[in-house]
């Protein structure tokens, strides 16, 4: 059953050095505040999993929290490269980053298998590409009825699934709407889960397109308004496209990056202070 606690408490209780973490969000509802708290609490040797690692993961990688990344698309959406990710892969800064690379369809299949308690999932994928030559977690399986050969990928079952959502009620039932990405799968596939929300209400009002994750599949719910910034929460905020563009020059330069993290993340006590310091 979900505990409603501060983000500091949730990260301290559920995120440990060496854990496999999935902070999911498909452009929408990216749990940036949790990434910042993980940097503040200086977690190390994390294995990060995500379909679309973007600025939040760039910050975790550049801050030296990450030794391994499993992903399918690592970029700054609509802007270009993920500079800290590139620097880690190309120049091993701040240290080497081991990568496990898939396609979106493969990662989605892996999360779905994880949520469903299956050891693997199947898809029509990867065939004819160079990915299987470099990624050991892509194999094949033969259809016992047609003999067709399909791609097989192992289930993803992170230690901690982390998402940002619009709302929770006081029991910890979580309501999400708009682009849903793989957030439900990430929570259900993980042993533990942290959900930051824009607001906590007495009753979840019906919302078109919304799904509800019952409190008993969530470990911790934290009230963190704006916790997705520069990503957004439909109904509460819009995507801060200017921030994504501004991130490119900051992240291109190691010193500029470090100064930014020191000032806005390490130098702030929590996400509320971060909001003041970056001014949104």
């Amino acid at each position: 059953m979900a505990d409603i606690v501060s983000l500091r408490e949730a990260v301290a209780a559920h995120v440990h050095d060496g854990d496999t973490l999935a902070l999911e969000g498909f452009t929408h509802l990216i749990p940036h505040a949790v990434a910042h708290e993980i940097i503040r609490q200086q977690r190390r040797h994390l294995h990060l999993v995500r379909m679309t690692p973007d600025v939040a993961y760039d910050q975790l990688i550049g801050s030296g929290c990450v030794t391994r990344l499993t992903f399918s698309w690592g970029g700054n959406p609509g802007v270009g490269s993920l500079q800290r990710f590139r620097d880690a892969v190309e120049n091993e800064w701040p240290h080497p980053l081991e990568i496990e690379e898939h396609s979106h369809a493969g990662m989605a299949t892996r999360y779905a298998a994880g949520a469903a308690g299956l050891p693997f999932g199947i898809l029509r994928g990867y065939i004819g590409t160079d990915l299987p030559n470099h990624t050991t977690t892509i194999k094949t399986v033969e259809c016992p009825f047609t003999g067709e050969v399909l791609a097989a990928v192992p289930a993803l079952n992170p230690d901690v699934g982390v998402i940002h959502a619009q709302r929770a009620d006081r029991h910890g039932n979580v309501q999400i709407w708009g682009l849903l990405g793989v957030q439900k799968e990430a929570v259900l596939a993980s042993a533990r889960s942290i959900v930051t929300v824009e607001e906590i209400v007495d009753e979840l009002p019906p919302v078109a397109g919304a799904i509800v994750l019952p409190a008993w599949v969530v470990s911790a719910v934290c009230l963190v308004p704006g916790g997705a910034h520069p990503s957004f929460a439909m109904g509460f905020s819009t995507r801060d496209n200017a921030f994504y563009k501004a991130w490119d020059p900051i992240s291109k330069d190691r010193d500029a990056f470090t100064a930014w993290i020191d000032k806005h993340v390490i130098g702030t006590a929590d996400f509320a202070e971060y909001r003041e310091s970056v001014g949104f």
Partner: protein
Amino acid sequence: MADYTTDELMIVNAARQLGELAASGHGQCFVGIGLPSTASNLARRLYPIAPVLIYESGCIGSKPTRLPLSIGDGELAETSDAVVSVPEIFAYWLQSGRIDIGFLSGAQLDKFANINSTVIGTYESPKTRLPGAGGAPEIAASAGAVMVIMRQSARSFVERCDFRTSIGYGDGKGDRERFGLRGGGPKWVITDLAIMEPDPDTCELVVVALHPGVTREQVIAATGWAVRFAGDLKTTAEPTDVELHTLRALQAA
């Protein structure tokens, strides 16, 4: 006739192709972000029978009023006929063969229309680490047909991709069948200089049309393989005022 850029030529010609496909009843288009999204949204505005825009973020039938910066802009969800989860969009909508056109771009394209969006150089010690596969490999595998839109240069149009992220025709004719791929593969490569299509006998990309004012020499210089030209090489029509005004209004919004 208004002035226009080579990018505008490229985008307008892609939109025209999409318009033709939609008019012929094959308008379900799985759209990558960037140039494909710009061209698709232009086509939606230009043609009475518009393509149906499908984004990997789970948006089906999106009708954005302005160009999304990312495939996850709220605008896309708010204007869609349906929004589904990411596992569903890939399994039930793409893999199932419901998509007519996969609309892709990339960092490298080779003469058999294979696409690289993973690394320049070797995988182990890349010269440039690119974002990676995203949805492209399965779009290239499962879409009924693939359209590629890319700026052309000798560095980006290569004999063989450093990394094969998404398959076009592999090493040539017959490879797609050998791999048991259900999608038809790349049918159109639209660049800022020309339009290429696969040779029916070899599946090698050949230039079928040049944009107005572009010479064969320019294309040869901007292609990393010994590119061939179709016997009946055409010239694409000048962009119309309507096409240009619509595109510029879209990009200004």
